[in-house]
Structures are given as C-alpha cells and as structure tokens.
C-alpha cells in the first residue's frame, strides 16, 4: 500500500502532499521536513530507496523517490509494493503531469495545485485505497508505449 505521496522542491517547500493515514497538520509538516532532510542529503547517483523507519508506520515502510529538476517526488510505501513498480509509477505520474501542463515545471504545480491533484487521479485512485491500480498505465510500463488517458480537465472546470 502507498502510505503517502509527497512532492516538495529543493528547499523542502511542500508542493503537493497526500497522506492516506490521518495525521495532524503538525505531524504532516514534521514528516515532510524529515523526509526532505533524508532525501536532500543524497547524491544524484545513489539508489532511490530509503528505509523510512520511524517516519510513517514503522520499519515495514520504505521511501521511494525520484528527483526531477527542482522537485522531489516521494512515495512512502509498505512492503506489499514492488519497489521498481513504484519507481515506474512515479515516472508515469510525472509524464501525466507533463501532458496536462505541457512541459511541466514547479510553477505549474504551484499555480494549479487543484488540477495537479486531479491529474494525479490515476495515481490517486491508486492510493485512494492505498493500492496500486493503474488500469491504463501498467500495461505499458515495461513495454514502453505509454498511452495515458488523462481525465479531460477542461470539462471539469
């Protein structure tokens, strides 16, 4: 299961956060801060897994992250998830954002938080119940022909 999805920038400012367990606002910020500290210390060419340990839940959990330009995408998951699968998922998530915003950058996330949240809907549905379900996406990941159905945003707004 996915326990939380955190997106923050190189300075630790949260850009999008979603916790799938109730935490108080203070704890959430604390978790984001600590995660940022853990992740930001790491070099570019080290592995993308971190034992989250005390952060959320316990030792069963892992932090799986990717760093794109100015943004960190961190997924906190437990042992029932495939590590490599989540890495692919992050990739898909970012590509989805890219399609929504055309060359996504940090500012897009800042100014369109609500839309970004929605673009994450597939990833969200994933985590909606903290589970992986990307009906359209998964089939492609390992094959390479990514064709993501982005929920048509304009009709919602």
């Amino acid at each position: 299961m996915i326990k939380a999805i955190l997106i923050f920038n190189n300075h630790g400012k949260p850009r999008l956060s979603k916790f799938y367990q109730p935490y108080s606002e203070d704890t959430q910020q604390q978790i984001i801060r600590e995660t940022f500290h853990l992740v930001s210390k790491r070099d570019e060419n080290v592995c993308n897994f971190l034992e989250g340990g005390l952060l959320i839940g316990g030792s069963d959990n892992k932090l799986i992250y990717r760093h794109y330009a100015t943004l960190y995408f961190v997924f906190c998951v437990d042992s029932s998830e495939s590590e490599l699968g989540i890495l692919d998922l992050i990739q898909v998530f970012v590509e989805t954002l890219d399609k929504c915003f055309e060359n996504v950058c940090e500012l897009d996330l800042i100014f369109h938080v609500d839309k970004a949240g929605l673009a994450g809907a597939p990833a969200r549905a994933v985590s909606a119940v903290k589970n992986m379900n990307l009906p359209e996406i998964p089939r492609n990941i390992n094959i390479g022909d990514i064709s993501i159905k982005v929920p048509n945003l304009p009709s919602f707004k």
Binding site: E25, V46, F111, A125, N133, F156
Partner: protein
C-alpha cells in the same frame, strides 16, 4: 433580498481565488504567516456567504493552506456544505478538502452519511467516483457499517470506472467494519474474473492486501490465482499475485512445488526487471518453505543467487540495492550459497550509497563465523571511525553488537576481545545506542563468569574516564554505559585492583550532572564498593584506613541527597544515615565489615526478560477473585453511623475463628473447591501435574564449565581490540602446531613405516578453532513450566487481527450486511439543500441513542464472551482447540447481531423491549438426499434489470468426497440460466468447488428473466461424483427452483414526500388482502415483511405503516399495512397489476404463518 444577492455576487468578483492566494503568498515571502492569517480571516468571511460558489472557492483555498500545515478542521461544517453542492465542480472541491482533513475524530462526519449515500447512487459516474475516492480517506466504522451495502451494490455497477473504485474501497470498509468481509467476499471473488482488467487488478490488489495479513484464510483461492498467474499478461497484476504466493507458500508447501516451474519460466522469459525481481523473491520464499522437506532444489537456488549477483553487479544502484535485499532472504536458510559471494558483499560495504551499505551490513550478519568474526568486526570498526552522519554510525554499532551477540555469542571465541570492542565503541560521540552497549556489557559480565575480572578492570578504567564519556548527557546517549560500568564495578567489587580509587571516581562532584537513573545506580554501588573496602581494611587490621573511607562517604554523599531526582535522593539519604551509623560504631571500635557486606550477600542470576510473564499461576490461586468482599455501593455512611462499629466487631470475631482452627480451614478449602467445581462460571485450573509450582533451583544448579585460560588476562596498556587480532592469530598458530605435533606423535606411534602426509595440507575449518576461553555462557533463568509461546509478540491492537475470518464457510444469511432502511421516526423528507443540516441533526441524535443502546448490548456480549474465553489463558496446551472455540464464541454474537438489528432497525422507535424475533433466514430448502443438502436464496440487483442471482448452499452430509458437481436446469421461455459462453442450452454449469465430508459452501448462479410479474418454477438436477474408500459413484439430485415475485424486489429506501408524490400520481393500480388470526406484534410483523419481502418502512403511525420496494425492472410497489385486533390488512399499489397480485398472494402466505 434579490438585490443583496446581486450585490453579493458582484463583490465576489473581487475575491481571491486559489491562484491569487498562491501568488500572494509568493509575494509576501517575509511576512508569510501574517499574510496567511489575513487570508484566513477573509476566508472566514467568505464562508458566511450564502453563495455556494464563494464557499467552494474558500474551501479550495483552505485545502491549499492545509497542505502548508494550517489546521482547517474548524471549517469542517462548511466543507460538508460544499460536498453537498449539486454542481460537480464544487462537490469535487468539497470531497478533496474532506479527504485531506477529515478523520475518525471529526465529529461532524456523521452528518455526511446521507449525502454520501446520495452521491453513491447518483446517475453521474463522476459524482459516484468522487464520493468513493473521498470516502476512502475518511471512512469511519460508523460510515463503513452504514454504507457497506451501498458500496457492495456498486461493485456490480455497469461502469468499470465505478466498479474498480468500489472494489478498492471495500478494503477500507473491511478494515473498519470486519463483519462486512464475509458477506462481501463472494462478490469480491467474482471480480477477480471481471472482464475489465482495471477492475480485475483492483480485486487482486484488495485480496492480496487482505491475504498478506491473514494468509491462511485465502489458501482456497490459490488455484484461481494460479490460473490468473499463468494467463495474465499484466505485469502489475502478476507482481501482486506473485507476492501473494510468497505469503501463501509457507502455509502450503505443495503449492510451492507447483509454483517453482512457472516461476522459473518467468525468470527466464521476462524482460521486466521488476517482475524478475519479484519472481526471484517468491522462488526464495518457496525454497524456504520447502527447505525442510525437499533437499534437492539446489538448481533453483543457484539460479536465484546467480540472477541476484547480476543485479548486485549492475551499475544501477537500485538494482544493486534490491539484489542485496533479496540475498539477505536466502541467507536465512541457505547461508552456504550466499557465503560464496562474500567478496561482493564486502565490496558493497565500501559503496558510497548509504542504503546499499546498510543492506550489505544485513548480509554480513549471516556470514560471520568463528573464523572471520574478528576480521569482519575490525573492518566495521574502521567504518565506524570513518562514517559521517550519526544514523549510519548508529546502524553500524547495532550491527556490530548484533553480529557478535547472535545465537548466544556462538561466534565469539575470546570475550576479552569483545569487551574491548565494546569499550572502544564508547568513544563514539552522539550515538543513541548507549543503552545497547551497556546492556551488552552487563550481559557478558554476568553470564560469562570467567571474564568478570577483566571486565571489572575495564569498567573501573571507564569510570575513571567518566568525564570523557559523560560530556553528552542526553538520555540513551553514551553515558548509559556508565550505568553498566558502575553496576559491574559494584557487584563484582571483589575483582577490583584498587577499589578505593574507583570509589573516589564514583563520588566525584561531576557525577551529579548524569541522568537520574545512572546516579541512582551510582549511589547503590558506591555502598557495595564501600562494603568491599571495609572488609579489606578490617582484614588487614587498619581501622583508621577504614574510618577514612567512612569519612569520605559522609562527606560526599550529601551531594546526592540534594539531587532533584527522587530515586537518587531517597537512596542517598538512606545510605547516608546508614554510613553515619557505621561511623558511630567504628568510633567505638566495633567491627562492622561483616554486617555491611551481609547487605549484599548472595549472587544475582541472569533472568530471561520474559520470565516474569511466564510464571505459571499456582494451583488454587484465582487472580480475579476478591480478596476481601468489595464494599457495596449502597452503603452510605451517614445513614447508620453507629451500626458500622457494631458490625465490625462482629466481623472481627468471625474472622478470628478460622485462623485458630487449622482443620476447619482445610475443610473449608475442600468445600470451596467442591463448589468451584460445580460452578460453571468458575475458572478451573488445569489438573496437569506439570503446572505445580516448584522451587527454582539455586545458583549451584546452574551448570558452569571450567575455564581454561590460555591467554594472559591482563593486556598491557589500554586495550585495543586490534591487539587481539594478533594475539588470536598467534594463539591459533600455537594450537595448530600443538595439534600437528600430537597428530605427528600419533601417527608416528601407529604407523611408523608409512610416509607422513604433508602437514601444510591441513586446512583450518570452523570446528577446529578452539575458543580461547572455554566459556560457559550461563543461560538466562526461566520459571519452571514456562511454555514457549509465540503469542507474546502479537499486538492485540493490530487492526488486521479483526480480519482473520474464515471465508470458506458458507454465509449464514444472518450475516448479511445491514441494509439501510429508512429511519421512520419523524417524517423525513428528501434532503434538500436548505434543510440538510436540520434533518440530519435529528438523525444524528437518533443515531446516538441507537449507538448507545448498541454499545450497551455489545458490552454485555463482550462480558459473556470474556467469561467464556478466560479458561483458555490457563490451558495453553489446548491452544489450538481453544482458538477454534474462541472464534466460535466470537462468531456467535456476530451472527445474531445483524439479524436482530436488521429486524429492529426499521421500527426502532417502537419499544425495543418487546419480545425479540427469532433469527430469520431467507434461505429455504431446495432439495436433500443422503449425500447433499441444498438451500437457496434468490436476489436481484437494481443494476441489472433482467438478472437475478441464485445463491445455493451445498452441504455435504455424507462421509464421501463430492466432486465434479454440476447444476443443470431446464430453461423456460421466460427464465434462463446464464451459462458460460459457447455452451449449449442443455449443458449444466459446473460448481466451482469440491466438497470434503461435512463441509458446505455457496455457489452462485445467474438467471436471466424476461418477465417478472408472475412466479415461476424451474426444474433442475444436481449431478455429482461421490467418492469414498469403496470407490466413486455417480449421483443425482433433482430439485425445483421457485422464483417467487418477491425475489425480484430489491430493498430501496424511499422518502415520505417522494412516496406521497408516487401515490398521488395515480398511475398505480391497487389491490388488497386481509389475513385473520395474527397474534404477532406489529413491530415483528413489519420486520418480517421487510426481511422476507424486501420492503422498507417509509412511515409508521401506531399500528399502521406504509412500506416501499422496487422491482429489478423498476416497478414501484407501495404498501399500506394496518393491524386490527387479530387481523392484518394489506393494501398495495403497484405500477403493474399482475405483479402486485402475485406479491400479495405471497405475502398472504407469509402472514398466515404468523
């Protein structure tokens, strides 16, 4: 009013939207907090507006602020308002905000139940979707209970988008409301074979997640998953299934054998690394489960290790990490095959990536042996020195200790070396694991007797250098080791070279800066030291020196007396008084040493940490019984003040008597035992003679082996663990030489003429290394009869425990999900925007009442349950049996609850204390013979207008094994059995399971129905093969399925205003029946109609009620039920006259039985 609205909306044009807020925050970098608090004030104003668009905008901004860490729970009510907006754009904002900030503690959450239900049944799939997504984040036990049935219906929605979400959210519902698991499981299982891959993978996910926690309940699904695994091409689903198999194989080794081949194929064929990795992982799990039974899988292990090596050698750090992770799993069972790759692991230890180093450390744990322990630890120690960052250093430290202490120190040949390693570790700064080192020091010093002298000398040196260690006084810091050092020096003070010096070190003023618990130990051990010194001095006949020591104590102890820590203060003042007293005695030249040492006579033995828990309750001791009669509550003091004295005197006399008479006591005990034996509620202690409590053996019974020291105990200078490496090598070399010499002698003696084999051929194997000290490691004491139990580690609060539910047992129909029927107390109207809060508040109050009542009931049941369960604590032997019993106990109340609740619910405002209904079952007998009994129930669903599901429970009544069961039905023009594609009308439908003797299970069959207005009967046959010891026979059982009109009705709640409109519309035809001679109460009558005929109560006034239901094809059915003296009349209105006619006939039959 209108003007105000227009004016309001013009004003609103200048409101900030989310973008403005974000921009504003970015422009106010310096005074962000101030700006935001100003914004929050604005938002508060906006929330007061009537305009829903304004509110939505405000809530949207709040959601953003929540992400930045601002508490927005105060706006919970406004969020609910926005959630109930009719426009999707607003609704979505509301649900998003709710999913961000609602949780179980949010009190307004119960107001949302109806809103969510409305959204769930909304015609727009997006409304339903957003409600499901939101609900998943804030579902509470109450919501789960109330909405479970609605969500279950959505699992068969026509749109895969909804089905998928509904399947996923069921997992959350199960967690919060475990009772729903069994009723919902058959449908969940169905979804595994959903045509839509998304829904399918959702179902796989949910079941995997459930099975991960309680795998044994899901073993029966293994064949289905096996089929999926071999047929699916979706890697994500495959990964999940393979992971699930990894959890199942330890329980069923046969499954493992079957898995090996397809998994190996996958490993060879797949190009996806993630899949490959998971396959390897599961193969490892399989091998682990097989390792005991089947020795010959070395090929598979080789394959795994080989693939993993490729991963580890890959330049991609991620793969390297995962490779090491999987390697550590193999290590546990097949250490040999991993040890071959030691080079690789040691190489990874130098990797620049911390995660990878940590994984490599894990692997090291299994690679140490007597031979290489010293070398490996040396390498780790050098890493400790180099490591930057305390976390990694702490990890190294714990690993060193883990590696050394594993399996009762089996790899340590030289404990002096270990102690010096520990002492070296104390030089680490800023570690959080001081207590770990301390615990090791204590453990080794206590359990390895031979090392005590050395340990004491090291510890006293440590106490001398305490100022270095104690610089950081944080708790759990390195200063914890002083705790151990002080204790060891005190307890084993007879080994101290210079006790006086150590005593002074422990009494330094600096000590008072240490944490309280350490100071307390200091005080205690100072006295031990003091006793030892006194003894020494008096034996040496130096009374003055002895008095000097006392003087020192009297001078220094007051610093502890002033401590702020209570423990230290208490101990210190106690000790101070004692020492002062000794001083007086000494002044009179009285020898005191003997008596002071007597304070600490005897030796302390190591006790296992769990020992206390495992002490069996001695026979005859009832921990729950009152020792004295509890004071009664009714007794009030000011009523009869005098009587108390009087009575007390009486009681006194009574009590004294038995004490005097020993015989009388024995007699009474016997009588009490007799009484207990006859009292079913008294928990009897098990009669097993083992349980009898026995005295623990004394110290001398602990086996201690003689120690043969071949290494000089005192190592010159400061001990550095490295020295030991050299020493150790020398020692081994010596040993080897000696051995060779002996061999030589032997050989020379025995075979003088034969040419000698070359001595250097001798290779050192692990067993050959004799330990430097023949050390007996004293085992920790455990109480007699302590039984090993694995239950110790289970967390009783684990939410997944509640989901440990047997899923193969067929559903009892009392277990059905509570179907929400309308609470009819006050005439409820359909919620419209304005009066939502009002009506809902009423409901809330009602609910609270109901809840309280239920809780009381639950408590009662719990009490009973506990009484039943208690004995099990005492009889651990019958563990398994009892577990079953317990689960039965648990199930019993569960079974009853929904039935009685379900029956009482619609009319709960009536007197609940009326006679309760017997549990009702909608399953009726289909057919029965010597082999099998069939009962069935028919249900329709609103989603499919021409389909009904027939659930047939098959119960094996014979001692034969029933298989190849097949159900064939003669279709009529109107009703047809849905058969798998491609099969002809005459084919039967196979039953998807087999039945061992005595087992029952439920199968579901779908029928398509064209017209539902008349009842019908279908003839059919169940054919099966009954197999027993004598052979197998082909058997048949004919039956007749009765499709009553009732089975086409689906319970649907209806609001009273909608109901009134429906009646007014005039396009319903009417009919009525009357039944005489009914004695049942009206309430139970209604409950019966609701249950058997799928109606819900719309409104009830005295002995008159209106009811509503809907057929699967959309016919409305309205009833007016009136109860007279001894009769009941039912007036029905329905959009189809024929349907109404048949329904009323059926109802008449039911009522006639009342």
């Amino acid at each position: 009013m209108a003007l105000k609205m227009v004016k309001g909306s013009i004003d609103r044009m200048f409101d900030k939207n989310l973008q403005d807020l974000v921009r504003g925050i970015r422009n106010h970098k310096e005074d962000e907090a101030k700006y935001i608090s100003q914004c929050i004030d604005e938002i508060k104003q906006e929330l007061k507006q009537d305009n829903i668009a304004v509110k939505a905008n405000a809530v949207c901004k709040l959601t953003y602020l929540q992400m930045l860490g601002y508490d927005i729970s105060w706006a919970a009510f406004n969020i609910i308002e926005v959630m109930s907006a009719s426009k999707f754009t607003f609704k979505r904002i509301g649900y998003l905000a709710a999913s961000q900030c609602f949780h179980e503690g949010t009190d307004v959450i119960m107001l949302t139940t109806n809103q969510i239900r409305k959204d769930l049944s909304s015609p727009s799939q997006y409304d339903t979707g957003v409600a499901l997504t939101g609900l998943s984040c804030f579902v509470t036990p109450d919501l789960a209970r109330d909405l479970a049935n609605d969500i279950m219906t959505l699992m068969s929605h026509t749109k895969p988008y909804i089905r998928k979400k509904a399947v996923l959210i069921m997992y959350k519902v199960f967690l919060k409301y475990p009772e729903s698991l069994r009723p919902a499981f058959p449908r969940l299982k169905e979804k595994l074979e959903d045509p839509d891959p998304g829904v399918q993978s959702a179902a796989v996910n949910v079941i995997c997640e459930l099975a991960r926690r309680n795998p044994k309940n899901y073993l029966s699904l293994a064949p289905l998953f096996f089929k999926l695994m071999t047929s699916s091409t979706n890697n994500w689903v495959l990964i999940k299934i393979i992971k699930l198999f990894g959890a199942l194989t330890p329980l069923e080794p046969r499954l493992g054998k079957k898995l090996i081949e397809p998994l190996t194929n996958l490993i060879h064929s797949t190009s996806a690394m993630s899949l490959l990795y998971e396959c390897v992982n599961t193969v490892i799990a399989v091998l682990i489960s097989l390792s005991s039974g089947m020795p010959n899988h070395s090929a598979s292990i080789q394959l795994c290790v080989q693939k993993l090596r490729i991963l580890i050698e890959d330049s991609d750090q991620n793969l390297k990490y995962l490779g090491l992770l999987a390697m550590s799993k193999i290590l546990r069972t097949h250490p040999k095959s991993v040890q071959a790759h030691k080079d690789l692991v040691l190489q990874c230890l130098d990797d620049k990536d911390e995660s990878i180093r940590l994984r490599a450390l894990d692997l090291l744990y299994g690679m140490v042996s007597k031979k290489n322990l010293v070398e490996i630890v040396k390498k780790l120690m050098s890493h400790v020195d180099k490591a930057e960052g305390t976390t990694y250093r702490d990890e190294l430290l714990t690993k060193i200790i883990d590696i050394c202490s594993q399996c009762n120190y089996q790899h340590i040949t030289n404990f002096q070396w270990y102690i010096s390693v520990l002492v070296e570790l104390t030089r680490l700064e800023g570690t959080r694991h001081g207590h770990l080192i301390a615990a090791q020091m204590l453990d080794v010093a206590i359990r390895v007797k031979a090392i005590r002298k050395f340990a004491v000398s090291q510890m006293s040196a440590l106490l001398d250098r305490a100022h270095l260690v104690a610089s950081s006084t944080q708790r759990n810091g390195i200063c914890e080791v002083l705790y151990a050092a002080a204790w060891i020096c005190g307890e084993f003070s007879e080994h101290l070279q210079e006790p006086q010096q150590t005593l002074e070190a422990m009494l330094r003023p600096k000590v008072t800066t240490l944490p309280g618990h350490i100071q307390a130990v200091y005080v205690q051990n100072v006295v031990k030291l003091y006793a030892a010194i006194l003894q020494q001095r008096e034996q040496a006949a130096e009374p003055e020196a002895a008095q000097d020591v006392t003087q020192l104590m009297v001078e220094r102890l007051p610093q502890f007396v002033q401590s702020a820590d209570l423990e230290v203060q208490e101990r210190a003042s106690c000790v101070l008084q004692l020492v002062k007293h000794i001083q007086k005695l000494q002044a009179k030249d009285v020898p005191v040493a003997e008596e002071v040492s007597a304070l600490f006579a005897g030796e302390l033995n190591p006790v296992a940490p769990k020992a206390q828990k495992k002490v069996p309750v001695p026979e005859g001791l009832d921990l729950d019984a009152w020792i004295n009669e509890p004071p009664s509550d009714s007794e009030s003091e000011d009523e009869k003040p005098k009587a108390i004295f009087h009575e007390e005197e009486q009681r006194h006399v009574k009590q004294r008597q038995p004490e005097a008479d020993e015989e009388e006591l024995a007699r009474r005990r016997e009588a009490r035992k007799q009484e207990q034996a006859n009292n079913p509620f008294y928990i009897k202690s098990s009669p097993s003679p083992q349980k009898r409590y026995q005295d623990l053996p004394g110290v001398e019974h602990i086996p201690v082996v003689q120690i043969d020291l071949s290494v000089p105990l005192k190592v010159p200078g400061m001990p550095v663990s490295d020295q030991y490496v050299k020493l150790e090598e020398e020692r081994r070399h010596r040993q080897r030489l000696e051995k060779d010499r002996k061999k030589k002698k032997k050989k020379d003696k025995e075979k003088k003429g034969k040419p000698r084999r070359h001595g250097s051929l001798h290779t050192e194997s692990d067993e050959d290394i004799a330990p430097a000290q023949q050390v007996d490691i004293v085992t920790e004491e455990m109480p007699e009869n302590a039984l090993p139990s694995d239950e110790d580690d289970k967390d009783p609060n684990d939410p997944y425990r509640a989901l440990d539910i047997d899923l193969d047992r067929p559903l009892a129909d009392s277990e059905k999900l509570p179907i929400q029927k309308h609470r009819n107390a006050d005439t409820c109207k359909s919620p419209e925007k304005e009066d939502v809060p009002v009506t809902e508040k009423k409901i809330k109050k009602l609910k609270k009442k109901e809840k309280k009542h239920k809780e009381k009931e639950r408590e009662k049941k719990k009490g009973k349950e506990e009484e039943k369960v208690k004995p099990s604590k005492h009889k651990k032997k019958k563990h398994k049996k009892e577990k079953e019993e317990r689960s039965k106990d648990k199930k019993k109340p569960k079974k009853k609850k929904p039935a009685s609740d379900g029956a009482a619910e619609p009319v709960e405002n009536g007197a609940l204390d009326e006679d309760p209904l017997p549990p009702m079952s909608s399953y009726c007998l289909l057919a029965e013979n010597a082999y099998v009994k069939m009962t069935y129930d028919i249900q329709g669903s609103l989603q499919k207008d021409s389909q009904v599901t027939v659930s047939v429970v098959l119960e094996n009544q014979s001692s034969s094994f029933l298989k190849n069961m097949e159900l064939s039905v003669l279709d009529s023009l109107n009703t047809k059995l849905a058969r798998p594609e491609g099969s002809s009308v005459h084919d039967g439908v196979p039953v998807p399971f087999q039945l061992p003797p005595g087992v029952s299970n439920e199968a579901q069959f779908v029928f398509t129905v064209r017209s539902i207005v008349t009842a019908q009967k279908l003839k059919g046959t169940l054919s099966f093969i009954a197999k027993n010891d004598e052979g197998s026979t082909h058997e048949k059982l004919d039956f007749q399925l009765h499709f009553s009109c009732t089975s086409y009705l689906v319970t649907t709640p209806c609001y009273s205003d909608a109901f009134a409109k429906l009646l007014e519309s005039g396009d319903l035809s009417m009919s009525s029946v009357k039944v005489d001679g009914i004695s049942m109460s009206f309430q139970n009558l209604l409950a019966k109609i609701c249950f058997h005929h799928h109606f819900s109560v719309v409104e009830r006034v005295d002995s008159c009620a209106s009811m509503y239901s809907r057929s699967i094809q959309g016919h409305h059915v309205c009833l007016l039920v009136k109860k007279g003296e001894k009769s009941v009349s039912v007036d029905g209105k329905c959009s189809d006259a024929a349907l109404l006619g048949s329904l009323l006939e059926e109802m008449k039959a039911t009522l006639a039985q009342c």
